[in-house]
Assembly symmetry: C2
Homo-oligomer: 175 residues x 2
DNA sequence: GTCTATACTAAGATAGAC
DNA sequence: GTCTATCTTAGTATAGAC
């Protein structure tokens, strides 16, 4: 693992401020402070605020790829993996999850966010399609994932017991 | 109907810029220009940028209330009304819909947006709960609505034929 | 109720030392 | 690779005329 590079620490700080305090709180100064570097130091790694966003998008894409690979192998199957992954408190610490929530905070600010989220949706749907019969159920599952992420971004938690029932309901629908 | 007040025109401009160009494009100057008034004129109606956001939230709450009242009477039933309402191209012009998309653009910028969206979710769920047997299906329906709104915000359109099947699937699940 | 002019501030970015 | 100092601009908000 090794200790994180300064670059990664900056990206972490960016992400965490985004999640905790919202887009308005993300100033170069605040990010630098949280990462333990100066504004100049930060700008060495990311030449502009926009570069910071690009960095987050890139990270999100990588983490998602890794997550989908894991879903492929998951003993409980991709559907359960996908839906639980989205939101449980236990998973809130999951890197892919945090990066997604952070990115969603930037929704209105840059079109790159939208295209990235659409792309991620597409990849998960691809995986789900390979494991469900009915394409409509795939759509439902993907849509539910999106709903869960929106709620997580709103700070609303979805009841655990409902989350446990969810995959069963979808499988019933897939008959 | 009467012609819209200057105040309303300002709010319209704010909303439309939000939807079309995102949060960064929303400057007092841009909003004023689009509303056909000067910066000073705008600030007479809304004393600050924050007041503009408050205005949108208030409008959204009113429109939602009216929409829910309509859903109550809808011949196709609240479930169908809720799900179609969310996203069809035909409904894109619907005031409640546009206000919602605009508000979602502001997600990361102010906690008021989150609390408002949660409140709106709650009200729709209340209505749906009165017309479905299984509380879990109510949750699913509400979550799907959220997912549809997130996708609309992303600019991704959901296939019409899938949308038509959706309520039937949920009713099947509710047996 | 709306306009013009202007003050003020915050924040992004550059330059150059270390 | 990181820091301090500084420049620059954009954008919010105020004041006061009409």
């Amino acid at each position: 693992m090794g200790r994180p590079s300064a670059r990664d620490q900056v990206l972490d700080a960016y992400q965490e401020i985004l999640i905790a305090d919202g887009v308005a709180a993300v100033t170069l100064e605040a990010v630098a402070a949280r990462a333990g570097v100066s504004k100049g130091g930060l700008l060495y790694h990311f030449g502009s605020k926009d570069a910071l966003l690009d960095g987050l998008v890139e990270r999100l894409l990588h983490l998602t790829e890794a997550d989908i690979a894991r879903a492929h192998e998951a003993p409980e199957g991709p559907l359960r993996y996908y839906l639980s992954t989205s939101v449980t408190d236990a998973d809130m610490g999951k890197p892919a999850h945090r990066a997604t929530i952070a990115a969603l905070r930037l929704l209105g600010t840059d079109p790159k966010i939208s295209t990235t989220m659409i792309e991620i949706d597409r990849r998960w749907s691809e995986l789900l399609a390979a494991h469900l019969k009915d394409p409509a159920v795939v759509q439902v599952a993907a849509l539910l994932g999106d709903g869960l992420y929106l709620r997580a971004t709103l700070g609303e938690k979805t009841p655990e017991d409902f989350l446990r029932r969810l995959p069963d309901m979808l499988e019933q629908l897939d008959q």
